[in-house]
Every structure is written in structure tokens, then in C-alpha cells.
Symmetry: C2
Subunit: 247 residues, 2 copies
DNA sequence: CGTGGTCGGTGCACTTGTGAACACATCGGG
DNA sequence: CCCGATGTGTTCACAAGTGCACCGACCACG
């Protein structure tokens, strides 16, 4: 198992990188650099030339923010180890549209967009993998658009906490009410009330600067199904990067 | 002008196709087929294999819809002659995530994804153009996500009417309150009230099945700036498909 | 000319979310 | 040990949006 010829080996803990077979990973590996990024680190600003791709590893999490006239940024999507950020759709060398910040710090693998593109030129499956991930990313944003249009704050708050929990693998989600409020684009006092509602039903406890989820199932029943819809698309699209039959 | 060597000639009235120089357009032209599509025609359904690219021409308009648990579809974005639909990000041969329907009928140019990909393989500028448009499409969806999170129904309704007017070039926008309501993901009676508010200020008149915009500037002042933000990104990204200096 | 179906305008009771205000809890640093 | 900064719980008056009901207007069709 540890020397499985097509296995992930000791690669960075990122799903895209681990999906690759050795031959394909070998095209990227030499250029990959593993770094640590703290929370609140700014990875890209609107208008920046995108030259580096970041792969969140382990529990690291980044957030795409869109500015608005009031100066308050609104969060649109989260990306963790299931994906990557930077030039995924545009292939780089274009001005970024969103601000991208590290939400939960940790390790990131990164490489230059030009090197990723060079590797893609040599491997059909690399092209497939990134085209498919780009499609998943787009689907994720579409789902968020719909979610923001029709789901209640309570549903979206529950969704957010679940997805953070999902990626960090911890029942304790560090998060102030203030942060949650700005991410959902709502007032702070209302999020406090929503949390109060969850706490009244023993779904979670609140600490200063964090929530502790006690009953994930109950929380899931309060959330919308948007996360599940997107996960389904990830599953059906990212399967099939390699021809069926093996792997 | 009519025989400008790099000009659009008599091409379909679609911005992407008209941006191309003759040499690049020649790679697509032979495979392009111009068809007429009526309103409400379904172009793609979730799960469909995407094999055809459609380029809306003239006043044609399509809508990306995301389903939800209630069966009510929610509109996310509109695409007209500034863009194209079908495999733009995924390069085709993947299950579609959104339902895509024709909102306003008219002519569409279309061709098989495989032929578009073959042409892209031969031309760097074709690859650039579509990568850049893909980036713009993504930006458009991001902006919609933020818009749905923080802007009022009135702002979004105004935005919708303006963008429909923009693309059809007509002050009369065929649209029932019911349609507008389901697109915005809100109740019908409330949209009636919003329209009533606009009418009370002489911004528009309402007909059965349509609104007639009387004062576009006033309507713009009631709308959010999301359309303008996205247009700015289109301008800055799609400029530069061809190396600077000429064109 | 009449009739039935869709569409639009409005009243009403209700829920959701806003924004400001204030008191209190918690935490780190001097 | 106190202090100031930040985070939390709660109240209140208000605005935004819901869902239903009902009536009248418009339109296509026979």
C-alpha cells in the first residue's frame, strides 16, 4: 500500500493532487512548493494578475469575497482541500475578480500557473482533471447564487457551519457572530438570535469566538441541501478523469 | 468597411464571433449553423451531456436556472449576444449542472463542442478568447451570488429589467409579474407591489404581459451596480485577446 | 357576443431580517 | 488586579418580504 504504483504516496493532502497517477503527478511535483499560510492572509485581490495556483491542504480553507458599493465584502464560496484557487478557469494572467483570503490557516501547495499550464500541455488527464474541477467550481458558485436567492439565514448559517466542520474535521468551529454575519451579508444581532435558536435546541453550544456543534444531524436538518447538491456534482464529474475500468 | 480584412463581415451578431479576426473565424465558420429558437425552448437539462455550443445572436437571451428542493427553478444569470452557452468552462462531455432555457427567442449560431475544441487546438487566440470569456462568465456568477445576498428585491428587479432592455434594445420588456417573481425567487404579489412603486414614480408603465420603461436613468438609480461591475470585467478581460497595438 | 383562463392590483395578517442601543461576559496585557 | 478591547445576549421600533384571498381587467377563442 505504501508503495502502490498509482497511489497518492506522500503527496500534499489535497484531493486534486491525490487523484493523479504517479506519471501525471510527476509533471507537477518538482515545481510544487508547500507553504504555511495564516488565517486572514490575502491570496488575491481584485485586479491582481493571477500567477500562482494554491492547493489548500488538510484543514486549510479559503474564501472568495466579492466587494460591493458599501465596502463590505460578501462571501460567496469556500474552497478547501477538494479544490484549488488561482487561474483555474482563466488559466491565469488575467485580473482576479474576487478577493481570496485564507479563512482557516494551514499548509498550501502552490506552483506557478505557467508551470501548471506546461504540465497540462503534456498530459491529457491533467487537462481533464482541471477542466472538470473548473466545472465543479462553476457549479458551486451557481448553487450559491440560488441558495442566496431563496434560503433563509438560518438555513445558510447551518450550511456554513456544517461545511466548515466538514473540512476541518472538528466539532469546534472558530467563528465570531460578527464574522458569520458579514459572511452571510446580514446584521450581527440577527445571527446571534439564530445561534440562540440552535442553542435552545441543544444543537450547538457557543463559546467566545467559536461554536461547538453537539448534534450535527439536527444541524443538517436545519440547513439547506445546497452542499449536498454540489458534492453530488463533484462526485459525478471528478470520477472518470481516468478511463473507467481501472483505479 | 464592408470588406475590412479583419472585420466582422456578415457574421452572426454575436460579440465573441465578431471579435475574431478572419483567420480565426475561418476555423469555426464552416461548422457554424444558424438556427432559430423560440422562447421557453430548453437547451440543456441538468445531467445532459453537453455536446453543442450555442451563441445567442441579436436580441436572443438565455437563462441559467438552478433547481431546488421545491421544484421551483431559480434564475441565476442571463446570457445574450455577449457570450455563449454550453461547455464553455468544462469543454463539454460533462453533465450540465443548470437548466438553460431560451428567455427571448431569436437566432442562435451553434456548433459541436468537438469542433470548437478542434479549432481551439489550432489557434492560440481562440483559446485565449474562450478562456477569457469563461473567466467573465464565472465573474458574472460570482457577482450574482453577492447580489442575491445583499441587494433588495427592488434593486434586483430593476437590474433585471435594465439588462433585458439592454440586450433587446427595446423599451418594451415582455415579462409577466409571475415570471419576474419566480426569477427573483420571491412571491408574485410582492413583485406587483415593486412594479407599482416604479409606476407611481413614472419610471415605467405596465401592460398585460410586459413593462414599458419610460425613464431608464431613474430605473438605473433604483438598481444595484452589479451589472456595471460585470461589464467592467468583460471590458478589461476581453480587450487584449489580440496582442495590443493593432485592432 | 359571451365565456373561461390568465394576469394584475390590492388588502391583510404574518414572518423574517434590520440597525441601533445597552448591559454584561471574557480575555489579554500592563 | 484592573483596564480596555472585543465578543455576546437581548430589547425595541421598524422595514422588507410572504402567502393567501379576492376582484376586476384583459385576451383568445368559439
Amino acid at each position: 500500500m505504501s508503495k502502490h504504483p498509482d497511489g497518492p504516496g506522500d503527496r500534499p493532502d489535497n484531493n486534486l493532487l491525490r487523484t493523479l497517477r504517479d506519471a501525471d503527478f510527476a509533471l507537477l511535483g518538482p515545481y510544487l512548493e508547500v507553504t504555511a499560510q495564516d488565517a486572514n492572509q490575502l491570496l488575491y485581490s481584485p485586479g491582481d494578475n493571477v500567477e500562482i495556483v494554491h492547493f489548500p491542504c488538510g484543514p486549510s480553507l479559503v474564501s472568495y469575497l466579492v466587494g460591493n458599493e458599501d465596502g463590505r465584502d460578501v462571501e460567496t464560496i469556500l474552497v478547501g482541500r477538494e479544490g484549488a484557487v488561482g487561474g483555474i478557469v482563466s488559466f491565469g494572467h488575467l485580473p482576479a475578480y474576487c478577493r481570496i483570503v485564507v479563512k482557516y490557516g494551514g499548509s498550501f501547495a502552490r506552483l506557478r500557473v505557467t508551470q501548471l499550464e506546461a504540465a497540462k500541455a503534456k498530459s491529457l488527464t491533467l487537462r481533464y482533471l482541471f477542466a472538470r474541477y473548473a466545472d465543479c467550481l462553476l457549479a458551486q458558485v451557481f448553487q450559491s447564487t440560488a441558495c442566496n436567492a431563496i434560503h433563509s439565514i438560518e438555513q445558510r448559517a447551518a450550511k456554513w457551519i456544517l461545511s466548515a466542520m466538514d473540512r476541518t474535521g472538528d466539532h469546534v468551529v472558530p467563528l465570531t457572530h460578527e464574522q458569520l454575519a458579514t459572511m452571510l451579508g446580514v446584521g450581527r444581532s440577527y445571527t446571534s438570535r439564530v445561534m440562540q435558536g440552535f442553542r435552545a435546541e441543544q444543537i450547538l453550544e457557543t463559546r467566545r469566538g467559536a461554536v461547538v456543534v453537539r448534534d450535527p444531524e439536527a444541524l443538517k436538518s436545519r440547513a439547506c441541501l445546497c452542499n449536498e447538491a454540489v458534492k453530488g456534482h463533484f462526485d459525478s464529474v471528478l470520477r472518470g478523469v481516468y478511463p473507467a475500468g481501472e483505479d
